[in-house]
């Protein structure tokens, strides 16, 4: 198939940036979206044009490094996949595809389609851990039985890949789904109880400080999340936050 591409080009963080038109011929439907961009980049290099910068690494949908806002949707039109797993068979000959970076105040553009998501890391520094040292003397792993249902829910929350699609999809650029996934994982486990109150207060405060918006329950984040992280996590975090705020806030 032959495609028209409108791609965001921006030299660096200070550049204004603009959409630039490209064309690409003979795209196989079996290509992944990023392989299509690889081919385009090879053509650009051969023509002496600087290739388009985009983030990617594992290309298996698990590292969370790839992003891209494709035709107005984070990770493009397919559901439950990241951009690296999106295939060109979801498009048809003659289509025009708009490709932009994830947009949010807290995710400044670094270059072209690459954004800075280090705000996500800083939220984790504020409390996304259980304070246990490595010693070899912690108690036996089976000393605390955990009900299977809770363990499974904690696992589901923990499968967040930190890609930022939730923020890019939210009209308020809220990071509630991302933060609630980590808060929920630990709230559901006995190991996480000791620090639960400080954790939720500190992480939510940090989220606000980093410039993410508020949650207005539109649910776009859940729809666009490549890992299907549930809105239930946001409800759970709100309960945790309320209860922590009453006792400690």
């Amino acid at each position: 198939m032959n495609l028209k591409l409108k791609i965001w080009r921006q030299k660096d963080a200070n550049d204004k940036g603009s959409m630039v038109d490209y064309e690409i011929q003979n795209v196989s439907e079996h290509m992944s979206f990023l392989e299509m961009l690889d081919v385009l980049n090879e053509e650009l290099i051969d023509k002496g044009i600087e290739p388009i910068a985009f983030d990617h690494d594992c290309r298996e949908g698990i590292c969370g490094m790839c992003s891209l806002y494709i035709n107005g949707e984070a990770h493009g039109p397919d559901r439950r996949v990241t951009t690296c797993q999106l295939h060109m068979r979801k498009f048809k000959d003659g289509d025009t595809i708009y490709i932009e970076p994830f947009r949010a105040n807290a995710f400044p553009v670094v270059k072209d389609l690459v954004v800075d998501r280090s705000a996500f890391d800083r939220i984790q520094h504020a409390g996304g851990y259980i304070s246990v040292n490595t010693s070899g003397n912690t108690q036996d792993a089976n000393a605390i039985p955990i009900p299977k249902d809770n363990a499974d829910l904690a696992f589901d929350a923990a499968t967040c890949i930190g890609c930022g699609a939730c923020v890019a999809s939210c009209k308020n650029s809220s990071a509630m789904l991302y933060v609630s996934a980590k808060v929920s994982q630990f709230a559901l486990l006995p190991q996480g109880q000791v620090e639960a109150k400080d954790r939720v207060l500190n992480m939510v405060n940090k989220m606000d400080e980093e410039g993410f918006g508020n949650c207005t329950n539109t649910g776009a984040c859940e729809v666009q999340c490549p890992k299907g992280i549930s809105l239930d996590n946001i409800s759970r975090m709100n309960r945790e936050f309320l209860s922590a705020n009453i006792t400690k806030g």
Partner: protein, 667 residues
Amino acid sequence: MGNLNSGVPNGDLKNKWTNYKDSIDLVNPANKRNIDVIVVGTGLAGGSASATLAELGYNVKTFCYQDSPRRAHSIAAQGGINAAKNYQGDGDSTYRLFYDTVKGGDYRSREANVYRLAEVSTNIIDQCVAQGVPFARDYGGLLDNRSFGGVLVSRTFYAKGQTGQQLLLGAYSAMNRQIARGKIKMYNRHEMLDVVIVDGKARGIIARNLTTGEIERHSAHAVVLASGGYGNVYFLSTNAMGSNVTAAWKAHKKGAYFANPCYTQIHPTCIPRSGEYQSKLTLMSESLRNDGRIWVPKNKKDVESLRNGSLKATDIVEEDRDYYLERRYPAFGNLVPRDVASRAAKERCDAGFGVNQTGEAVFLDFSSAIMRYGKEQALLKGLDENDTSLVKNLGQEIVKSKYGNLFQMYEKIVDENPYETPMMIYPAVHYTMGGIWVDYNLMTSVPGLYAIGEANFSDHGANRLGASALMQGLADGYFVLPYTIGDYLSDDIRTGPISTELKEFEEAESKVKEQLNSLVNNNGKHSVDYYHKKLGKIMWDECGMARTEEGLKKAMEDIKNLRDDFWKNVNVPGGLDEMNKELEKAGRVADFLELGELFAKDALERNESCGGHFREEFATPEGEAKRNDKDYTYVSAWEYKGEPSKAVLHKEELVFDNIEVKERSYK
């Protein structure tokens, strides 16, 4: 050719590690505050080492090329992590895990290291659970186990198909706690481009800030490489796009011996290539071979019709199918070890029986399993077992419950429904057992330079067992290195901060800048990927699943010529002082172009077949691997001498006092 000293402590195997820990030098907590350690890489090994060293009180500086430490490729590991907990009461023990690992590695690993690995495996599970890693549990709330390829016990802990992700996020959370305390200084989007040696000791690194292009000097009292494996030398592998050998290779060029580069694991169940544009390969858990039957057509005519689309796999009748694993290995059938299954698929495809357009794919067929499970369900539910469509539906449900996520992944990539038509699979490179040579302390041949995880030549010998990579990465990082490094650093308590103004830093920096300059100013005619793909093809054809003397000699020559051409004709657009992804790739490919030649040299020198290294000249009449224990029971550690072809071999003889060395047989 010297005999390398691994520094394994004396004494009984079972007590070596305990006694050794009691006797090595420690650094007191107040002094740890005056000591800096650099860690390169944030996978399971680098992440866990960074966190633990910081908890102990050292000042840690950690580097990763990704935008966050959480993205390291350990995250993609699926199956699980082994530990000799014996929770199932099925007779597991430290010795059994040790035994299975040495045997699985085809008797080419170091006994004392493997025993220590098995010993600390149980601590890993305790530690991870304490961190909040959500392992799978049974209805009683206790941890669940599954069994994995080629062992007789259930010792694999798992978190669905995302065990690597959950363990890495555990290490990442432990790091985050130390980053918050200021004990780890994290350098994201930074790539190590050289190690700096001062007075014979590793004292720092030169790194490039990948966002600004700035070249930075970082000093420390010790440097730890946790930069992963080098599978991307093949261009196509299951590694992440950015996985590279640069940190390890630069260390090699500064004096660290590179051990057993030719030991590569090629995994049989990956999704085949679909075209020339392909950028990477995707692995599917080997558990699929429990229920899938592997076949190709018996007749070339059917192969042609499959390729041109006039025939579907399901149209080919039973007697026209060649279930070649069941034919060649009646005892083990489709469950032969990874290396054997991979080679057999290659043999059929080379003979012209590959079932897709590229000619490099075989079928993995679940229809027999679906019908078998369906009949069982029909009987259990009192339904008509002769109703074919009912039985098929019931069987598909069972298969879905066992392999649902893998089937979904396959369907997303290939756009075919594997419940209705056989999957297509082909082997792909996914792990490298070789790496930087280390002693018992995990220190390389350069004092103060350590290598952990997949980056070292490690504990897996010539072949790694499933679910052991995660175990080794975390064992090195949480429980081994933090002890052993103290023995070295105890001499550095009065050293004080290392200055980055030393001439060694200046020299290393100017060399790095020189190479980067020559790359961006080359203005050649071919892209970096052009060379990477050509290198990958040489590696795959001559250093892949089957190797010959003639092919390896040719590979050494071809790689050298390709490397010369690269430096003359590569085209790297963009500048130095900015984010430049082509420049990053160019530096990595330049190093792969040297490693590849050493790889071929190592494979050529090893005149035997063992584990992942198969030389066609050294096979039994039936085509099975033939080890030569008399002449090759050693680790090949190569010293850099200006050109990969001139590398000098040092041998570490392997001694097996606690295990009987036997033939592996699958018939």
